[in-house]
């Protein structure tokens, strides 16, 4: 039997931490206890996630079958380098956000409820990333979504917050339900929902068609099932990641949430959507799967959507008057860039130019990490600025608060440079990777669009910096507000941004490693090979 290990214990222990909180909230009235409790729970998650990433990068892909059931029957967590890395980044940023929440909600009474939802959000995030089972992904997506809807509507007497929450929730429920319908089609044809098993079956289905014994009559056509499942799953995931026509909820939902939650939503939750897209299009419906033409068409659609959301996000960002709304549109723009990066893997690129393939994917994943750090930093800084300006989110009212707090302004500059792609920062190198990937692949117009998107968004960032630092206004700075704790956090994130740029040779080679673990035929082979090894170990354990 497989005992407890760090891969399996993380999500269940976080669930325990989260759902004991309402009970504790009845018993304990001291608000400080909850701040420390949530910070410790986050710290626990961050340590475990970092350890898991270390384990994966040194010892290879980890599989954990829950309860010792062999994977196609039970649920299995499967960590390759992609989700281990993203899980680590997620847990570390969540740690920063949780500590920041202690400052943000220092005068608020109902913190037990807030932290339950925030830890529930973390459960959803890490569960979505770690899981190796497509149905468990649906469940975790729902956990994530319900926490996110509730956090967006956290100020439930504010009309805008409730409006944003119901707009987000209504179509979000449609998206997850459509994903479920897609899963039904997959299960009907292939008889499994385990991702590694699916990757295996989609590679070899043409040679050894093994239809589901229960429903081989109507649903048996693998082409129809793949087409329906891919269309519906992609729609749901682009909703979660806010790509162009499905992006409408984001600029409403992210600004209306409490500021730490905005940072989590904008930096981390959209990543889950991109991660799921990557997992579906590269590992499950991978380059060696039998539905190559469908995959190519979908990737081209994704490229167009990525460019469109990059442009629209950048354009809309320029005209915002609300600092958090500006940052939310910037998220749409950056997710567009990430999608442009990960949409490179058409079969022709893979066959003719594998360098471009690896460059584009590495650039996409790298940009995802860079954007997470930069955007979480900027949202947290915006929270400080808003508090200093007396609670108004208007750029006009913030006018020049930053010049009295040079450390906060420094952090703001670091974050903006990261997102803008100024040379020593990570954002520059990831944009460069995406740019050179498309130059390499013989699609220079896409590279030009990447530059154009950056150029348009420059206006928005200049406006942000101008309004919050350089502008001479007469803002009502609240002298009573102490900002030493959040300043320390945003500076730490700023240093992280700088490190992603300065250590770029190391990180880029790590990203190539990551791409090798999930997107190449060898990587997909390893993915299901380690799954079957676990299966064999379990079977031999049962025999003994």
């Amino acid at each position: 039997m497989i005992g407890l290990n760090s891969v399996g214990v993380l999500v269940p222990s976080l669930v325990g931490f989260a759902f004991i909180l309402p009970l504790l909230g009845k018993l304990i009235k001291n608000v400080k206890f909850f701040h420390i409790y949530a910070a410790l729970a986050s710290l626990w998650a961050a340590i475990l996630a970092t350890y898991n990433a270390y384990l994966v990068f040194t010892a290879g892909t980890q599989v954990y079958p829950f309860g010792g059931w062999p994977p196609p029957l039970g649920i299995a967590y499967e960590l390759d380098k992609l989700n281990a890395l993203l899980g680590m980044v997620t847990a570390l940023v969540m740690l920063a956000i949780t500590i920041y929440s202690a400052w943000y909600l220092k005068d608020y009474e109902g913190v037990a409820y807030y932290y339950t939802l925030l830890l529930g959000l973390e459960v959803g995030l890490i569960g979505c990333l770690y899981t190796g089972d497509a149905f468990n992904l649906f469940v975790m997506l729902e956990v994530l979504s319900i926490s996110a809807y509730a956090l967006v509507g956290f100020y439930r007497s504010k009309p805008e917050a409730v409006e944003a929450a119901i707009k987000y929730g209504m179509f979000g429920a449609v998206a997850t339900t459509l994903y479920f319908v897609g899963l039904v089609f997959i299960y009907a044809t292939f008889g499994t929902l385990n991702m590694a098993d699916l990757a295996f079956k989609l590679t070899f289905y043409v040679y050894y068609p093994v239809p589901n014994p229960f429903s081989g009559t109507f649903f048996g056509n693998p082409y129809v099932a793949s087409a329906v499942a891919l269309a519906l799953a992609l729609w749901a995931f682009t909703y979660k990641s806010a790509a162009f026509p499905n992006h409408f909820w984001l600029p409403d939902a992210h600004p209306e949430a409490p500021t730490p939650v905005s940072a989590a939503l904008s930096g981390l939750v959209v990543n889950v959507g991109v991660y799921a897209i990557v997992r579906f299009l590269y590992t499950i419906f991978g380059p060696s799967a039998f539905v190559v033409q469908l995959r190519d068409a979908v990737l081209i659609a994704l490229l167009v959507l990525g460019i469109a959301s990059g442009l629209i996000g950048a354009l809309m960002m320029v005209v915002q008057e609300d600092i958090k709304r500006l940052l939310a549109y910037s998220t749409i723009s950056h997710i567009g860039l990430v999608l442009v990066g990960v949409a490179i893997g058409t079969s022709s690129t893979l066959n003719q130019n594998s360098l471009a393939y690896v460059l584009g994917l590495a650039g996409g994943i790298y940009h995802m990490v860079n954007h997470t750090l930069g955007k979480a930093l900027l949202f947290l800084v915006s929270g400080i600025l808003i508090a200093l300006a007396g609670g108004s989110r208007k750029l006009d009212d913030i006018g020049g608060v930053g010049r009295r707090y040079p450390l906060v302004s420094l952090a703001l500059f670091l974050g903006v440079f990261q997102l803008l792609g100024v040379p020593p920062f990570g954002g520059f190198f990831s944009k460069l990777l995406i740019y050179s990937a498309y130059m390499e692949a013989g699609m220079p117009y896409v590279s030009l669009m990447v530059i154009l998107i950056s150029a348009i968004s420059l206006l928005g960032y200049v406006k942000l910096i101008y309004a919050s630092v350089f502008k001479v206004g007469s803002p009502k700075v609240e002298q009573t507000t102490k900002v030493s704790l959040p300043t320390a956090i945003v500076l730490a994130l700023g240093i992280a941004c700088l490190v992603t740029g300065l250590a770029t040779t190391y990180i880029t080679s790590m990203m190539f490693d990551v791409v090798g673990s999930f997107a190449t035929p060898q990587g997909v082979y390893d993915y299901w090979q380690s799954f079957f090894n676990t299966l064999l170990n379990l079977a031999s354990g049962v025999m003994r």
């Binding site: 729902e142 319900i146 809807y149 409006e163 429920a173 339900t177 319908v181 299960y187 109507f218 649903f219």
Partner: protein, 142 residues
């Protein structure tokens, strides 16, 4: 055109396919309801129909055709307390697939949670805006 033909397409097969297509149409109609009807309450009703249709589809996928005209397939419940190997074998030959049923149980519970949450939010929207018409609930724009 091999895939267009359904195996054993007798009258029973036709009826089953008819039932499936009504469920698919339900999916489409309820999608229209969520996307295009103005009232939030109507959207919630359409949303429950949408998720229920998905559930029925999942159960129909796990369904096994009756082995013969007189003996039905059975629910995935083994009704022998200490089963012998022969019991299990004969059970596995006639029982429907249990896994979609487990999935649907989970999905029903999750759908209930989401629906109650949306109902609460709609109530709050009515308190704050005085309407449930989404065309009037548009403070956030641009």
């Amino acid at each position: 055109m091999r895939f267009l033909k359904v195996r054993n397409m007798d009258i029973n097969g036709f009826l089953f396919v008819f039932m499936l297509s009504t469920i698919m149409l339900n999916l489409v109609i309820s999608l229209y309801g969520v996307f295009a009807r103005p009232s939030l309450i109507k959207k919630i009703i359409a949303l429950t129909i949408l998720s229920d249709s998905g559930n029925v589809l999942a159960i129909a996928v796990g369904f096994r055709d009756w082995p013969s005209g007189w003996s039905p397939s059975t629910p995935p419940v083994l009704n022998v307390t200490s089963p012998k190997a022969s019991d299990v074998v004969s059970f596995a030959r006639v029982a429907v697939d249990p896994l979609p049923q487990a999935l649907v149980l989970t999905a029903v519970v999750i759908g209930l949670a989401v629906m109650l949450f949306l109902v609460f939010l709609t109530l709050q929207i009515y308190r704050l805006y005085g309407t449930t018409d989404v065309r009037k609930v548009a403070k956030l724009k641009g």
